[in-house]
Structure formats: C-alpha cells, structure tokens
Symmetry: C2
Amino acid sequence: MGIEPSLSRLSLNQITTDLWSLQEAVEGCVRAEIPWISIWRHKIQEIGLAESKRIVQDSGLKVSSICRGGMFPAATASEREKRLDDNKRAVEEAAELGTDTLVLVCGPAPDRDIATARKWVEEGIEKLVPFAKSHGVKLGIEPLHPMYAADRSVIVTLGQANQMAQNYAPTEVGVVVDVFHVWWDPELYEQIKQASGRILGFHVSDWVVPMPDMFKGRGMMGDGVIEIRRIREAAEAAGYTGPIEVEIINQAIWDRPGDDVLKEIKTSYVEHV
Amino acid sequence: MGIEPSLSRLSLNQITTDLWSLQEAVEGCVRAEIPWISIWRHKIQEIGLAESKRIVQDSGLKVSSICRGGMFPAATASEREKRLDDNKRAVEEAAELGTDTLVLVCGPAPDRDIATARKWVEEGIEKLVPFAKSHGVKLGIEPLHPMYAADRSVIVTLGQANQMAQNYAPTEVGVVVDVFHVWWDPELYEQIKQASGRILGFHVSDWVVPMPDMFKGRGMMGDGVIEIRRIREAAEAAGYTGPIEVEIINQAIWDRPGDDVLKEIKTSYVEHV
C-alpha cells in the first residue's frame, strides 16, 4: 500500500449526510476539520442561493464541486431546452458558491434508443460549454456505473467520458472519477492515463457484497472490494491533486449521527484512500 | 423493427423455470413446442447424469448449452485445481448431454485484486481447452454485467471476452452474448462484429426499471429498455444463427405456473427478440 492522502484534500460530498441541511453539513465539517464540501442542489433549493452562499462563506470551507448538472436526454426538443436552462442555473450556482467544477450526471434515455440519448448528451454539453466558460465553471462528466444506464446516465465508462471531453479544452470540459462507478472497468488504468490533465474530481466510497440496495447501497471506504488507493494513485499520476470527495449514498449511514459518520470518514480516508 | 426470429431457434434456459425439475422442464418444452433447452448443472445433480441424459434423449429436445463452468479465481493453487476439475466434469456433462457448448461464468476475485483474478481466468481457460476439445465441447465465455464484478465474474465486457477468446481457434473458445449483461456497453456493436464466427450463444431477457432485485430481477423481453432485436440482428450479421436462449432470473416469474411462463415467452420472443 502507498502513502495516505493529505487530510487537506478531504471533502464531504453532501449526499453522504443527506439528512443534514446545508447549515448542519457545513457546521459538521468545521467541527470535524474537514476543509472541503461538495454541495447538492436540492440542499441549495431548501434555503436559496444567497443564504447558501452566506453560510459557506462564513464557514471558511472551500467548495469542491456542485452536484449536479446533466440530465440532457429528453424526448422533445423543448424539454431538452428546459434541461439546458436548468444546467445554466447550476453553472450560476457553482460560480456563486465559489467552485469551478460542475459535476454532470448525464441522464438516461427517454426510451430504448441509448445511442440517440448519447448524442443528446453531446449536444447538451456543446450548448452548455460557452455559458459555463463565461462563468469560469468547468464541466466534469462523471461516468456512472453501468447498472445506472437505464435510469441515471447513458455515460457509463471513463472511456466514453474521455472521448466527449476531448472535444474541448481541459479548462472547459473534463471528467470526474468516482471509484464506485469505474472500479470494474478492464480499461480503467489506461483511461485514467488518457484523462491526464482533465480529471476535475475524485470521489470515493466502496462496493460492498452483498449490496443492500442498488441506489442507497454504497459502502464506507475499506468495507468493500475496491482498490481505492491504487485508483487514487493512478489519478495522481495523471495529474490530479485536488480535493477527494467522500460520496456515500447509503440509508444506514444517513440514519447515523452525522458527527459519527464524519469521524469514521476521516479514519477510513487515512487508512483506505 | 426487423423480422422476428424463427421459433425453431427458441431455447428455454432452465433457470427461467427454476422451480421445475429437469423432467418437468423438458415436458414443459415439449408441450409448448419449444425445440431447445439449456440445462443447469444443479438440476443434473438432483437426478444424476445418466437419468438426465435419458430424459433429454427421450424428449427429442436439443440441448443448446450447459450452464455453467467457470469460477476460476481462487486464493490458492490447490483450490484453483479443484475448480479446474469441476470444469472438467462440466465438459463431460455437456458432451454426454449432446451439446457442444459449455457456458463459462468466470467467477469473482477472492480478494480486492481484480487484475490477478483476471489472469487466473485466462490460466483456467488455457488449462481447460485441451480437455474440452477432446470432448468436442467449445467454451463460451459469457461476460456478465459489471454489477456482478464483485461476486460473480471479473469478465464484464464483450471486449474482454473477445480478447481472451482470440487466443484460440473458434472451434475451441468463443463468447456468449446475453443482452442483459451487455446492452449498456458503448462498444457493444463494434465488439459483436469483432466476435464474428465466435458467438456460441445468444441469451435474452430484459432490463426493467426499477429492478426488483440485483440478481433475481430480470424482466420478460419487451418489459424493459433493451433493444433486443437490434442486438440479435447484430449477432446474426456476425454469423450467429444458432439457438436463442431465454434466460430470466426472476423470483416473480419462478412463482408463476411454468406453462404460463413458457406461453408468454413464445409471445414475447416473436414480438421483441
């Protein structure tokens, strides 16, 4: 095993403590001395953007990313325009909250035609880039695990994400590597190398067996089968030294006191990330 | 939509009616005029190989494949030898029951080291080929969906399966295409083309949303999002005109009367495969 990452890179992805409001999550990070936070849009909506901004700024926390834009494919052109407008709001929120990274969960197909849905993702990104650029926000394409191909994202491999990102400058579009989504991929290390200079985020959790739930079943780092450290070191070799988000979607973890979860995250991070 | 496949290619993969014994499954196929059956080894074990052979021969059904060999990776060399021995028994059973195809579900890693496990799969196949060849049995590497990478198979893409198969003659090792396992893959059609002359089986079911269970949650053809006909036609363009196995692992379908299930399979097959 290599060397553990610095705690100065640790970021709480807010979905990990989904029962907390933004205020509570921020206070939790400050108490736990976690320097970064990734903010979800449904938490911003609860209190509004101005209040969210005030809370974050008062805390001194840094914002690693906003989750999430994307969801580009839709059956009609007018609905796709609406999705684009929503992505522009997400860009504005990212800029306002002081992060340069908007994570894209690209969305499922509205029907069985996955190839066309993939084209709509490309189109959506193409239309969004100029707006994002003018706000100083980069788009991070996050490939999701293929088990979400039908309901969350038609972009399911790092290879696909790289291919789309490479149409743009690294200051415009990059990729987000989440170990839960990519660990199974036989081309993983080759594609991480391909992503050199374009990795905009790195997310950790673990794949536990048996998985309690397809959506809310991610594990704490170290509890599963993923070679997290090896993947993290590969991302570093590809130039990524930014924040490392702990993103665990898990009902049992949500049900625990947030402070306890943050404490365990720090221990697991040092040992397994 | 293209033209439906001939009913003369329809095969019942026995796991679809898992509550039926081999005798019951065979009788069900005869009643439903389904000409092929794929036999699972746990059903052979219930009554022995000789009795299984008698049942199949008396029925006049053709056997499309035996499910399954594989499960190669194990922590110790002696355990891997045991797995190899078990694979040899599977080859003998395939030969005895009159099919030339043994489906390989390659197995999970015994620990976090998925790369080594993949090498053990390659080694296992290499050791098994001469024995299989001498029995007139081909090995069909079946990539499983990446959501089974931790507990069932480290071989998760058709690209991987093709790469391994290409070390051998098409009469020795090929691939099995199961739409449930491969539909999400951005390289699917390219890899089906790559597999030309080497496709040893074609399995159908559907991916339903939401999925009731990660293992026992497959849907009836037409109930989900998979472009089954498009994939089947691609397999045909790559030279595969053999039996089409309906393999649906689903508790709710198991709980229904088998004859009803077979009736629905025939309708769905004509409409959606």
